[in-house]
C-alpha cells in the first residue's frame, strides 16, 4: 500500500471505529517507527474496555516483535498509569512471558519483558510520574530530530507537540548493555517515597489475594482426595479472615468505569467467602476448586478525596514501617520474610523479587525462616514448584508450629492441624511402600476421618453457615462412594466419571461446580438433579446466611480457581468467540453464544467463570437415565436423550415453553456449530457441552482448537458436532426448527466470512512466537487453513450450498458417534 493510501485508510471512519485494525496494523507495520507511532496514537482514542480486550495481543506484540519502535511500550505504560486494572492485567500477562522466556535471559524479548514488568511495578508502587521523567539515552538519530524540532518551534509551535512525543520515546530507547559506561547516573533516582496510594494498595491486595487462592490449589495436590474438601475449607477460612478488603475479581466481575474513564473505576469488593460453600473439584492431578464470592457492587474506587479512601490511606500510613502482616497470608514462613518497607528506586531490577518483596516473593536466603522440621518433611512435588513464574521455589509448604496471632488462633490452629495431617498423609504416601498395605490404609483412613471431623466441628461450632454434610456441594466429594449401576444398552462397563481420574472427569469441573454430577439426589428427587441446585436458589440461600446479604449491592459470584494448567489458550479461544459474537451482533444475526470470561494470572494459574445455570449433556443424560431406571419407568435401561431432558425441563411438545426452549437451542447450536467449524474446536464430548436452563448449548474447554486435537487422531472429522439427538430436538431433518437451524448457520457463516480478516489477523498475531499448543504445527499453516475454511473463492450463492454441505456432513457423522462411543467406553462420558 502506498503511504498516501495508507494514510487515507488510517484516517478513515472505518479505521477509527475499530481498534482491531490498529492492532493488526501494528503487527503489519512493525518495522516502521513513524507508522507505529501513528497507530498507537489511534489506539488512545478508544475506550479503556476496548483496549483491555486487546491487551493480550498488545502485550504479545511487544514480546514477539523485535523492532525499534517505542510507541507501543509507551502506550502500555501510559495505560498502566491511567488504570490500576490495566496495570494488574499487564503485570499478570508479563509474568507468563517471563516464565516462557526465562530459559533465554539474554534474548531481546526477555529484556523487553523484564523492563516492562519492572516499569509496571514502579508505576504502581513508585512515584506516579516516575517513567515520565525517564531520561533520554544516547540515541543519536532521534535526538538529532528532537533538536531540529526545537529549531522549528518559532515557525510552527505545534510541531514539537505533534512529533515530539515520538522523538522523545525513541530517544529513550534502552541502549544495549555494553554501551553503558557505568551504572551511576544511568538510572535516575526517582520516587524515593514509597507511595501509599489506594491504587497501590489495591494492586498489592489483589495480587496477594490471588496468590493465596492459587497456593491453596497447589497445596491440595498432595492431599488425598477424601481429605481435600476439609483441607480446602480450612485454608479458605484462614483467607476469609482478611475480608472484606480492597479486592475484586478482574475480568470475570469487572469494575464499572464511570464515564468510560479507566482512572475512575468502581470495583466490586469481595466481602466474604463462606468456606463451607467451596468445593474441591477432584480432577486428575490438579486440584481446581469452586469458590462462591460474596461481593458488594461498586463498593470501592481510587478517588483520593473520598472519606473512605482518606481513612484507608491514613490507616495504611499508620501501618507503614511496622512489621505488617501480609494480607491473605496463609503461610507463616512468608510472613517472616517481609522486610521493613524500603524506599523504592528505579535502579534495582525486581524481576526476581517482585515489588521488592511486596508481592510475596521469598528472598533466596529466606529458606532459613522455614523450620528445619518442615524442611525435612516437606515433600517436593513438581506441582508445588510451578506456582509462579518468577521464583519457582517461592512458596513452600510449611508446618506452622509457632504461636499465631491471637485474633486468628482458632482458624489458624485448624489450618495448622489440617496441614500437619496433610503432611503426614503425604509422607505416608512416599514411605508407604515399606509398610504393609492394610496398615497404611488404616492409618490413612484414620487421618482423613480426623480431618473431616475437625472441619465439621469447626464450621458447626463457629456458626459458619450450614453443616457441610447438608450441602449440595459436598456431593461431589462423596461421589466416590455412590453406587454404579449396569444397564443393558451394549455399552456397559463404563467407569464412573465422578471417581475416575481419567481425562473425562478432569474436564467436568463446571458440572461439579453446579452440582451437575451430583448423584445422591438422583433417586430421591430426580428433578432436582437436572440442574443441581438452581443458581438463584443457591444465591438466595447464601444471601440469607450472609451478614452482608441485606445490602442492596450484594451479589454472588462463582469462580473456579485453577492451577497447574496454562489457561492462555482457553482465554484466547474465549476472545475469538467474543469477536464472533460481536460480528453477529453488529450484523444483526439472530444467534446466541456465551461469552465466557477467564482471568489469566500466570502461566499455570487463573480464574474461570462458571456457567451457573448450565449442566453438561453428559450429566443430564446420566441423571435422567439413572432416575428413570430407579423410578421403574425404564425397564430396558435405555440411555436418556436430549429430547427427554427438553420434555422434562420445558413441558410437552407444542407448548410455548417447549418452543422457547427449542428456539434457544437452535439459535445457540447454529452459533456454536459455525464457531466449532471455523475454530476447529475439538474434544467435543458431552462433558464439554452444557445445556443451560433456557435451553441454550454452551461449549466449554478449549484445549484443542485450530490445529490440535486429542491425541492428534483426527477422530472428530465432522465439520462440527451435530448428533441425531440434536436433530431430534429440532424435530428431525424435515422439521421447521431444523430449517431454521440451517438458515441461521448460513447467516452466521456469511457474517463471519465478511469479517474473516478480523479473526485471521488475531490468530496470525498471537501465533507468532507462540507457546500455545494450538500453534504447534506452525502459525503459517494454521493461518492458511483458517483462511481456507472461510472458502474465499466461493460466490455469495455458492456459500449457501457450502454451508448446506457442512450440515449434511455433520448430521449423525460416523466420526462424531465414534468419538462419543469412545468417550463413553473409556471415560464413562454419556
Amino acid at each position: 500500500m502506498s503511504w498516501n493510501l495508507l494514510e487515507r485508510f488510517i484516517e478513515s471512519d472505518h479505521f477509527n471505529n475499530d481498534p482491531s485494525l490498529s492492532v493488526a496494523y501494528l503487527s503489519r507495520y512493525a518495522d516502521h517507527v513513524g507508522i507505529h507511532y501513528v497507530l498507537c496514537t489511534k489506539l488512545r482514542q478508544f475506550a479503556y474496555e476496548e483496549i483491555e480486550f486487546f491487551l493480550p495481543q498488545l502485550c504479545h506484540l511487544l514480546i514477539s516483535v523485535d523492532n525499534e519502535s517505542m510507541a507501543l511500550e509507551e502506550f502500555i505504560i501510559d495505560l498502566c498509569e491511567e488504570s490500576v486494572n490495566g496495570a494488574l492485567l499487564t503485570f499478570w500477562l508479563f509474568q507468563t512471558y517471563l516464565h516462557d522466556l526465562s530459559s533465554n535471559p539474554l534474548s531481546p524479548a526477555f529484556t523487553t519483558c523484564r523492563r516492562i514488568y519492572n516499569k509496571v511495578q514502579r508505576i504502581v508502587f513508585g512515584a506516579s510520574d516516575a517513567p515520565r521523567r525517564e531520561r533520554i539515552k544516547e540515541n543519536v538519530l532521534p535526538v538529532t530530530l528532537l533538536s531540529s524540532l526545537v529549531l522549528a518551534a518559532v515557525a510552527t509551535p505545534w510541531l514539537p507537540a505533534h512529533a515530539g512525543p515520538l522523538a522523545v520515546a525513541q530517544s529513550r530507547r534502552p541502549r544495549p548493555a555494553e554501551d553503558v559506561i557505568s551504572d551511576a547516573g544511568e538510572a535516575q533516582k526517582v520516587g524515593v517515597q514509597r507511595s501509599h496510594t489506594t491504587g497501590a494498595n489495591y494492586f498489592r491486595s489483589e495480587t496477594q489475594f490471588l496468590t493465596a487462592l492459587e497456593d491453596i490449589s497447589n497445596r491440595l495436590v498432595i492431599v488425598p482426595k477424601p481429605a481435600r474438601l476439609s483441607a480446602l475449607r480450612a485454608e479458605l477460612a484462614l483467607i476469609a479472615q482478611d475480608l472484606p478488603a480492597e479486592v475484586d475479581i478482574p475480568v470475570i466481575c469487572p469494575a464499572v468505569l464511570e464515564d468510560g474513564s479507566a482512572a475512575r473505576s468502581k470495583h466490586h469488593r469481595i466481602v466474604r467467602i463462606n468456606p463451607a460453600e467451596a468445593t474441591s473439584l477432584n480432577s486428575a492431578e490438579r486440584v481446581p476448586y469452586l469458590l462462591m464470592l460474596e461481593v458488594l457492587r461498586e463498593d470501592f474506587d481510587f478517588d483520593p478525596d473520598s472519606d473512605t479512601n482518606q481513612d484507608l490511606l491514613s490507616k495504611l500510613m499508620s501501618e507503614k514501617g511496622a512489621q505488617k502482616r501480609r494480607l491473605f497470608d496463609i503461610t507463616e514462613a512468608s510472613r517472616e520474610e517481609i522486610q521493613a518497607q524500603t524506599p523504592v528506586d528505579t535502579g534495582p531490577d525486581s524481576v526476581f523479587e517482585p515489588a521488592n518483596g511486596d508481592l510475596g516473593s521469598s528472598q533466596l536466603g529466606a529458606n532459613t525462616a522455614i523450620s528445619s522440621r518442615t524442611a525435612m518433611s516437606t515433600p517436593r512435588t513438581s506441582d508445588m514448584d510451578n506456582s509462579r513464574s518468577n521464583s519457582p521455589s517461592r512458596r513452600k509448604l510449611t508446618i506452622n508450629s509457632k504461636s499465631s496471632l491471637a485474633d486468628q488462633s482458632d482458624v489458624s490452629a485448624l489450618a495448622t492441624h489440617m496441614r500437619t495431617a496433610a503432611q503426614m498423609l503425604a509422607q505416608l504416601e512416599t514411605s508407604g511402600a515399606k509398610r504393609p498395605k492394610p496398615e497404611v490404609a488404616a492409618i490413612k483412613a484414620k487421618i482423613i476421618a480426623s480431618m473431616q471431623t475437625l472441619e465439621e466441628q469447626s464450621f458447626l461450632a463457629g456458626g459458619e453457615g450450614p453443616g457441610f454434610d447438608s450441602l449440595i456441594g459436598n456431593a461431589s466429594a462423596l461421589a466416590a462412594t455412590a453406587e454404579e449401576e449396569e444397564f443393558e444398552d451394549g455399552m456397559d462397563g463404563a467407569p464412573d466419571p465422578g471417581s475416575s481420574s481419567g481425562a473425562g472427569a478432569a474436564r467436568m469441573e463446571n458440572d461439579q461446580a453446579t452440582g451437575g454430577v451430583m448423584r445422591r439426589g438422583d433417586r430421591d428427587d430426580p428433578s432436582a438433579a437436572t440442574f443441581g441446585e438452581e443458581w438463584n436458589v443457591k444465591k438466595e440461600r447464601i444471601r440469607r446466611s450472609s451478614p452482608y446479604g441485606w445490602m442492596k449491592n450484594w451479589d454472588l459470584v462463582s469462580v473456579i480457581v485453577k492451577t497447574g494448567a496454562d489457561l492462555r489458550q482457553e482465554a484466547f479461544a474465549c476472545q475469538l468467540i467474543q469477536v464472533c459474537s460481536k460480528v453477529w451482533e453488529a450484523a444483526g444475526t439472530d444467534v446466541w453464544i456465551k461469552n465466557m470470561r477467564i482471568l489469566v494470572t500466570g502461566e499455570s494459574s487463573g480464574l474461570i467463570e462458571t456457567i451457573t445455570n448450565g449442566v453438561s449433556l453428559h450429566s443430564l443424560k446420566r441423571s435422567l437415565t439413572l432416575a428413570s431406571i430407579a423410578a421403574g419407568t425404564n425397564p430396558r435401561k435405555r440411555i436418556a436423550s436430549l429430547k427427554d431432558h427438553f420434555l422434562r425441563a420445558f413441558g410437552e411438545e407444542g407448548t410455548e415453553a417447549y418452543d422457547r426452549g427449542v428456539d434457544a437451542f437452535v439459535r445457540s447450536l447454529a452459533a456454536y456449530s459455525m464457531v466449532s467449524y471455523i475454530l476447529q474446536l475439538k474434544d467435543r464430548h458431552n462433558g464439554n457441552i452444557l445445556i443451560d436452563n433456557a435451553g441454550h448449548v454452551v461449549h466449554i474447554d478449549f484445549g484443542f482448537m485450530l490445529s490440535n486435537s486429542p491425541g492428534n487422531m483426527g477422530f472428530e472429522a465432522a465439520p462440527f458436532k451435530l448428533t441425531h439427538e440434536y436433530v431430534e430436538v429440532m424435530g428431525g431433518t424435515g422439521g421447521a426448527a431444523f430449517d431454521q437451524f440451517k438458515q441461521l448457520c448460513k447467516e452466521a457463516f456469511l457474517a463471519l466470512r465478511k469479517e474473516s480478516e478480523r479473526i485471521v489477523t488475531l490468530v496470525e498475531l498471537m501465533g507468532k512466537e507462540s507457546k500455545m499448543p494450538c500453534f504447534a504445527v506452525g502459525v503459517a499453516s494454521v493461518v492458511a487453513q483458517l483462511r481456507a475454511r472461510f472458502v474465499p473463492g466461493l460466490s455469495r450463492e455458492e456459500v449457501d450450498g457450502f454451508v448446506d454441505e457442512l450440515v449434511q456432513k455433520s448430521v449423525g457423522s460416523y466420526y462424531t458417534r465414534l468419538y462419543d462411543t469412545f468417550q463413553y467406553r473409556t471415560q464413562g462420558i454419556y
Binding site: N4, K137, L141, A153, A155
Partner: protein, 208 residues
C-alpha cells in the same frame, strides 16, 4: 574529529566541556553512542534524510531535513561530526532561551545575511507543512477532493492552515518596524512574547 577513536582524548574533552553544558562522563557516553549509531564517525545527509522519512511517513520531509542539516553542519563540510552534534544537542536541551533562539535564527536565515526575509520564513514553514503531510493533498491529489486538508494527521486553526497565512501571522507579530524582514532582535523579542513558542522551545529541557 572525524577519526574513529573509541574515546575522546583529554584535550578534546576539555574543549567540548567548555563549548557545551555536558560533563566529561556525559561526553564520553554520548561519544560512544555516536560511534555506535554512526560507525563512520560522521552523520551523513543520507542518514539524516532517512530518519526524517521514518518519523514522518505520510509527508515529504526532504527539504526541511536539508535546511536543518545545514544548521547542524557548522563548518559546511557536508557531514556532521561529533562536535557539531553535541553542540546542537547542548543548546537545544540545556541551553538558555537566548542561546536557543540564537541558534534557531540560523535555520530561518537561509542565506546567512543576518535577516530573515518573508520568503525565507515561507520556505521553512512550507518545508514543515510538507514534512507533516499537510500539503500532500493540495499538491498530490489531482483535485479529486474539494477540501485540501483531507488525509492530514495535523489539524490547524483556520488562520494558519496555509504556509502563507502562518508566515503573515508571524510577521504581524514580530516585524515591529514592518520592513518585511526580521532581524535577530525582532526574532528573539517576538518569540519570547509568544507563550506557545516559548514552551515549544523547552520541549525536552531536563530530559537529557
Amino acid at each position: 574529529m572525524g577519526n574513529k577513536q573509541s574515546k575522546l582524548s583529554q584535550q578534546e574533552l576539555a574543549e567540548l566541556q567548555k563549548a557545551t553544558h555536558f560533563d566529561k562522563k556525559e561526553l564520553q557516553q554520548w561519544y560512544k553512542g555516536f560511534l555506535k549509531d554512526c560507525p563512520s564517525g560522521m552523520l551523513t545527509k543520507e542518514e539524516f534524510q532517512k530518519i526524517y522519512k521514518q518519523f514522518f511517513p505520510f509527508g515529504d520531509p526532504s527539504s526541511f531535513a536539508d535546511y536543518v542539516f545545514n544548521v547542524f553542519d557548522a563548518d559546511k563540510s557536508g557531514t556532521i561530526d561529533f562536535k557539531e552534534f553535541i553542540c546542537a544537542l547542548s543548546v537545544t536541551s540545556r541551553g538558555k532561551m537566548e542561546d536557543k533562539l540564537d541558534w534557531a535564527f540560523q535555520l530561518y536565515d537561509i542565506d546567512g545575511d543576518g535577516k530573515i526575509s518573508y520568503d525565507e520564513m515561507l520556505a521553512i514553514v512550507e518545508a514543515i507543512y510538507k514534512m507533516v503531510g499537510y500539503l500532500n493533498a493540495v499538491e498530490g491529489d489531482g483535485g479529486a477532493d474539494s477540501s485540501p486538508k483531507v488525509g492530514s494527521m495535523v489539524k490547524l486553526p483556520e488562520d494558519e492552515d496555509t504556509p502563507e497565512k502562518r508566515v503573515k501571522k508571524i510577521f504581524r507579530m514580530m516585524d515591529k518596524d514592518e520592513n518585511g524582514s526580521l532581524d535577530m532582535a525582532e526574532f528573539k523579542e517576538g518569540s519570547k512574547r509568544d507563550e506557545t513558542i516559548v514552551s515549544a522551545l523547552s520541549l525536552y529541557d531536563g530530559l537529557v
